[in-house]
């Protein structure tokens, strides 16, 4: 998106005869945000010794997972060169559905999961048709679908309320065998699915379409199908985000998704995915989202005066990105020298 990024890229490309292999670059964003995440953890643990308790870690993960899933979904759309605002609507809608139609037991959880995945897929597919086949700008099309979803959520549930099934509320926010938080398992599973997906034809096509749709078309890629698939994946992941949000809050709220809108873009950006498309990845976004939630903890533990927390928060975001850029710069110049 930045006007100058491109300039610098060509400068660097021509100045350095060194050829880069794709592997390194594609995962670099994730590595950098990972480093920042670890640094924040160190700060947090130093300030707050109880931070490393199993409970504390589990609750932080539970708290982060919905945003992580939402950001993962958003990444698909951003990679193909677009924005998906429907994230807010789909999360609200899923949350409301799970809370208004709870089905008890593990099987019930599956039924609820199927419901939200179905809704996510349906909205995602609608977005896909609007953007890929009817060629409406993604930000505008998804704004409209977001508003419609919010309306439907309000029709289903007028005010916060409803109950989420016990199984979802307790089992999915607990730990497997009392040691591994379920949230961590889900996050790792998403990361693994992504790693496999990235190497499929559709995964590669996603990067191609995001970088240059015309060239992708000329290379034989079905650009429209690729875009459509990206929105579907995104919708499904938003549905899952709504599902996990319901597990965490154990009630429904017709406006539950609203806070996710800007946050999930921030997570994607922090994770090193470029908004002009074609570079970045889901892993970075997962860590980016986790970083944003961790930041809340760090802010708390450092005890900045409440009115000015925002200043701190903003500065940390900027510094995180600058730090990533600095590390990248250092590694590149060392590579050249």
């Amino acid at each position: 998106m930045s006007a100058v990024d491109a300039t610098s890229a060509t400068e660097a490309g021509h100045a350095a005869p060194k050829r880069r292999l794709r592997q390194g670059i594609a995962s670099q964003g994730a590595v950098l945000i990972g480093v920042i995440y670890v640094i924040l953890w160190v700060v947090y643990a130093a300030e707050q010794p109880s931070a490393l308790s199993a409970y504390s870690i589990e609750s932080l993960l539970n708290n982060s997972l919905p945003l992580m899933l939402a950001a993962a979904g958003q990444t698909f759309v951003v990679l193909q060169g677009g924005f998906d605002l429907s994230v807010a609507g789909i999360i609200s809608l899923s949350n409301v559905l799970v809370a208004v139609y709870p089905v008890e037991g593990p099987f019930g959880a599956l039924v609820n999961l199927a419901m939200v995945v179905g809704v996510g897929l349906a909205v995602g597919a609608t977005n896909g048709i609007l953007v890929a086949y009817m060629r409406i700008q993604s930000i505008a099309a998804t704004l409209a679908t977001m508003i419609v979803c919010q309306g439907i959520a309000l029709l289903i549930l007028k005010a916060p309320g409803g109950y989420v099934s016990e199984f979802i509320a307790y089992e999915l926010t607990g730990s497997l065998f009392g040691t591994v938080p379920v949230a961590a398992v889900i996050a790792v599973a998403v990361a693994c699915i992504w790693l496999a997906f990235r190497r499929t034809n559709t995964g590669i096509a996603l990067y191609a379409v995001g970088r240059d749709a015309t060239a992708a078309e000329l290379s034989g890629i079905d650009v429209r199908r690729t875009r459509f698939a990206a929105f579907c994946w995104a919708g499904v992941l938003y549905g899952c985000a709504g599902f996990m949000l319901s597990a965490q809050t154990s009630t429904g709220n017709p406006t539950a998704g609203e806070p996710f809108l800007l946050l999930c873009f921030a997570a994607v950006a922090l994770g090193g995915t470029s908004f002009s498309g074609g570079s970045g990845g889901v892993i970075g976004s997962l860590i980016g989202a986790a970083t944003l939630m961790l930041m809340q903890k760090v802010l708390f533990s450092t005890g900045v005066s409440s009115f000015y927390t925002g200043v701190f928060q903003g500065v940390v975001m900027i510094v995180a990105v600058l730090f990533a850029a600095f590390v990248q710069y250092m590694s590149r110049s060392r590579g050249n020298g």
Partner: protein, 506 residues
């Protein structure tokens, strides 16, 4: 004739809104034939290519391939029918690896099957081995390839689909050395492949092709046997008028004039210790094979990648060319190598593209109208033969050659005293090339100075007052006007001066 043709096209037409790109095109291509398409910039050649490869659909006409109706709806369908294409505006994805680009759209062997990186690289290596490429690593990102490497990759990708009909749209525009390409083409035709070959270089066309179809203003004028027609006649078919002298006469040597631009011991990237002097009224050529450091020289002078060593003097005083802005301020205008990336504002009109460097001067207290644009660019546009009808076109809707003309016109427009041109006539039609030569000569005669790199040696030999040959990052030879010959430049460019092989710098 009709029955045994591989491809036959009749009355093909294509409109874009009010614009007619192809009016009526008819032609036939036989198996094993290398068939040329000739025509001015904007005549409709690339449009034909796009139709044949399934990228755009025609508004009228019929196509038959191998005896059956041929109406491809996508590039994949065209490939399946045995037609594959190397496009004029390269269709590679810079953020993917060479291997991935080569195998697209099916890298992994199934839509949901994750690819093993090793398999893809091995497959790419096999393809490279088959087509004699050994200097590109399949694991590299395409972003980091030179333009010529990208061009070879694009061509190899077209080869790799095992076509019956192979379409090459200006494949040599960015290839300084054509031997590899011609060898491959001969091998493929030997295997029964027919090739549609588009190029503005008549010499090449004559070397490769038996027949040519000439297009003018979207109409096929006819198909000719190249053996029975001379260049002037072809030119007349393409343009509709007789050609002028191919190269303009040269002014007397410029030895006593002041030095406008001087480089002393410049280094940067592959370029090592390059010095030169460019005098007023002089056209100084640069000859080099691909990737010998000439690009670094030009980019340093353009302020794009400032030299890491040595210094640059403008009018005898040191100049810091840290950005293109400063280069412009120092009176240097640059014609970039990669038009699509560095030259063209695709969404703006051609007029806006050309007038850009001068809008400050042509505007009236900051206010600018399209009429002012059109008036201001008339001169430069005429100099490069960019027709008025294109002024209002978005650049993306112009043909490749016309885009190049607009980029050239912009450099002229800038009012610089010193033009630094990297392969300025790339993709430009025969007629316009002459206009551009004349323009350059005229520019120099009026007191300007030009540093020009060209991948076409005859251009350098006939146009330049002197020529630098760069090899291995260093100046291998400085050839004064009297000694300029294609043979000599070629030898020097390969690192042989006086039959003595030179040592490469790095």
């Amino acid at each position: 004739m009709g029955r045994d043709q591989l491809l036959s096209v009749t009355g093909l037409a294509k409109r874009y809104g009010a614009t007619v790109a192809l009016q009526s095109l008819s032609m036939e291509v036989a198996p094993r034939e290398v068939h040329a398409i000739l025509g001015e910039n904007g005549a409709g050649k690339s449009t034909l290519v796009k139709i044949l490869s399934g990228v755009v659909r025609p508004n009228g006409g019929t196509m038959r391939l191998g005896g059956s109706d041929y109406t491809p709806h996508s590039i994949v369908e065209a490939r399946r029918a045995g037609v594959s294409t190397a496009f004029q505006e390269l269709s590679l994805l810079p953020n993917l690896t060479v291997a991935e680009n080569l195998l697209l759209p099916n890298v992994s062997g199934g839509p949901l099957r994750p690819s093993s990186r090793g398999d893809a690289i091995a497959a790419a290596r096999d393809i490279f081995a088959e087509f004699d490429i050994d200097d590109i690593d399949p694991r590299w990102r395409v972003e980091d390839l030179s333009l010529a490497e990208k061009q070879r990759l694009e061509i190899t990708r077209a080869f790799s689909h095992k076509p019956r009909l192979l379409i090459l749209d200006e494949p040599t525009a960015a290839l300084p050395d054509t031997t590899w390409l011609f060898d491959q083409i001969r091998r493929l035709t030997g295997d029964g492949v027919a090739i549609l070959y588009i190029s503005h270089r008549l010499a090449e066309v004559r070397e490769l092709c038996q027949r040519a179809t000439v297009l003018r203003n979207g109409v096929s004028i006819g198909t000719v046997d190249l053996a029975g027609i001379n260049d002037d006649e072809i030119f007349k078919m393409m343009v509709g008028r007789a050609p002028e002298a191919r190269f303009p006469g040269r002014a007397p040597a410029a030895g006593d004039r002041p030095v406008v631009l001087e480089g002393r011991n410049l280094s940067s990237g592959r370029m090592r210790d390059v010095s030169f002097e460019l005098r007023q009224g002089e056209i100084l050529g640069v000859a080099a094979l691909e990737g010998q450091g000439q690009l670094e020289l030009f980019r340093a002078l353009a302020g794009l990648a400032p030299a890491t060593g040595g210094d640059i003097q403008v009018d005898g005083s040191p100049a810091a060319l840290a950005s293109p802005h400063q280069a412009m301020a120092a009176g240097i205008a640059y014609v970039p190598e990669e038009r699509k990336v560095e030259g063209v504002f695709g969404g703006l009109t051609a007029a806006a593209n050309v007038s850009l460097p001068k809008i400050g001067a042509i505007s009236r207290s900051g206010i600018l109208t399209h009429a002012q644009d059109a008036k201001a660019i008339a001169g430069p546009a005429r100099a490069v033969e960019l027709a008025d009808r294109y002024f209002g076109f978005r650049m993306n809707d112009l043909s490749g050659g016309n885009q190049q003309k607009a980029v050239l016109a912009r450099a002229l427009m800038s009012g610089a005293r010193c033009l630094v041109m990297f392969d300025p006539t790339r993709g430009v039609d025969v007629g316009t090339k002459q206009a551009i030569y004349a323009m350059m000569r005229d520019f120099a005669d009026k007191g300007g100075a030009i540093l020009v790199y060209s991948s076409e040696l005859p251009e350098l030999v006939n146009l330049c007052d002197a020529c630098l040959v760069i090899y291995g990052g260093r100046v291998a030879a400085e050839v004064p006007r009297g000694e300029l010959s294609e043979q000599y430049l070629l030898t020097a460019a390969h690192g042989h001066v006086g039959d003595e092989p030179m040592k490469a710098a790095s």
